[in-house]
């Protein structure tokens, strides 16, 4: 297919040909993509994971970090294909072990900005223990969990975040397991920074990812996304734009949530967006680790 501006022939302007190489130069975001990779991406048309990728690139770009300072680590799944397309140091590891590999990387290279990108199943089911223990240690990893409430790549099995009653290919009569609240789990485990937003509110997401990268300890950004090809189809949520509208309708900002009466808060089923937790009091783990090794090398006790 010829690379050109689609529909330019419908306007009274000359058809402009953009070569692939020139497209990478047309914005700051596109310059951070890996030029030798096959585009378009593998995700379904309209999937929110691509939006989170753009958000992450804009956040890194805004902080002025060079490509060599950043390391992206991912596991297996739809979301974990994300680092493949970006021009940073990347590690594409085994299922659920993104945080395990990221922990090793952060201790070996403490000055690197380590970002672990996981899906909901990858982070909470297969890698559930790595997740709570990374938060417990307060290691300086920025973790981004894209929550689409389903295992998309393997065909729509229910995941630890599928709401009760919703259908999946392995729950044809509705899911009977209560879901994990990701942010609350991270707060309880001891994370430094926890924020949540949706792919509709992408500028908020940019801001939270920036703040999360700047934080010293373990930080988590939950990006609520959607899967319209399996989850949406099975539960009759419609197309990608319909599900996007649903995210807009079914979410509430933290400040608006706090103004609700206690009863309304208890009954709230909407996604609460905002910075949910900040705790700078705890020591970062890779620094503690280095201090210990210094102390042992110099022969000091205690």
């Amino acid at each position: 297919m010829a690379e050109h501006i689609l529909g330019a022939h419908d306007l009274d302007v000359d058809e402009i040909q953009i070569p692939r190489e020139d497209w990478f130069e047309s914005s700051d975001t596109l310059q951070k993509l890996r030029k030798n990779k096959k585009f378009p991406t593998i995700w379904c048309a309209g999937c929110g994971i691509g939006i989170v990728m753009g958000s992450l690139i804009r956040a890194i770009d805004h902080l002025g970090l060079s490509n060599d300072e950043v390391a992206l680590v991912s596991g297996i799944g739809c979301t974990s294909r994300m680092p493949v397309y970006m021009d940073f140091n990347t590690m594409h590891t085994t299922h659920g072990r993104a945080l395990a590999f990221a922990t090793g990387l952060k201790i070996a290279r403490p000055h690197m900005q380590v970002i672990a990108i996981m899906g909901d199943g990858d982070a909470l089911a297969i890698g559930g223990n790595h997740f709570i223990h990374a938060a417990r240690r307060n290691i300086g990893i920025t973790s981004i969990i894209v929550n689409n409430a389903i295992y998309g790549m393997t065909g729509g099995q229910y995941s630890p975040t599928t709401p009760v009653g919703k259908q999946a290919t392995t729950a044809p009569y509705g899911n009977i397991e209560p879901p994990f609240p990701i942010c609350e789990l991270a707060i309880a485990s001891g994370a430094t920074y926890v924020a949540r937003s949706t792919v509709y509110h992408v500028l908020e997401l940019d801001k939270y990812i920036q703040e999360a990268i700047q934080k010293d300890g373990f930080s988590l950004v939950e990006a609520v996304s959607y899967c319209h090809t399996t989850y949406g189809r099975l539960n009759k949520f419609g197309t990608a734009p319909d599900m996007m509208r649903g995210l807009k309708k079914d979410s509430i900002s933290k400040s608006a949530f706090e103004k609700l009466s206690p009863r309304e808060r208890a009954e709230n089923s909407k996604i609460v967006r905002g910075v949910l937790h900040v705790d700078d009091s705890r020591e970062e783990f890779s620094r503690v680790c280095r201090q210990l090794s210094e102390r042992v090398r110099t022969g000091g006790s205690q």
């Binding site: 010829a2 501006i5 378009p40 999937c47 691509g50 509709y200 734009p241």
Partner: protein, 85 residues
């Protein structure tokens, strides 16, 4: 909203002419676009539309306000909005 238009035209005749100019230029990269339709559905001023092959086209370039909704929400990095002065 319709009632308010003449008032603005009387008081800010010159400025309103200036505002008719597009404030952004939407550039689409067809070979990366998968035709999900998010940009078309959510464009606040109706700059984009789907053609017969379900691919977005720019139909009203003069309406673009440069709000960057489409390029920040494009999952395939197939849109760049260039800010015009």
């Amino acid at each position: 909203m319709v009632d308010a238009v003449p008032v603005i035209q009387i008081t800010l005749a010159e400025d309103s002419n200036k505002r008719k100019k597009p404030r952004g230029q939407v550039v689409l990269f067809g070979s990366w676009c998968k035709g999900c339709g998010l940009c078309v559905e959510f464009c606040p001023t109706g700059v984009l539309a789907l053609d017969e092959n379900d691919h977005p086209i720019v139909i009203k370039p003069e309406n673009c306000t440069g709000c960057h909704w489409c390029d920040t929400h494009c999952p395939d990095m197939a849109i760049v909005v260039k800010r015009l002065d």
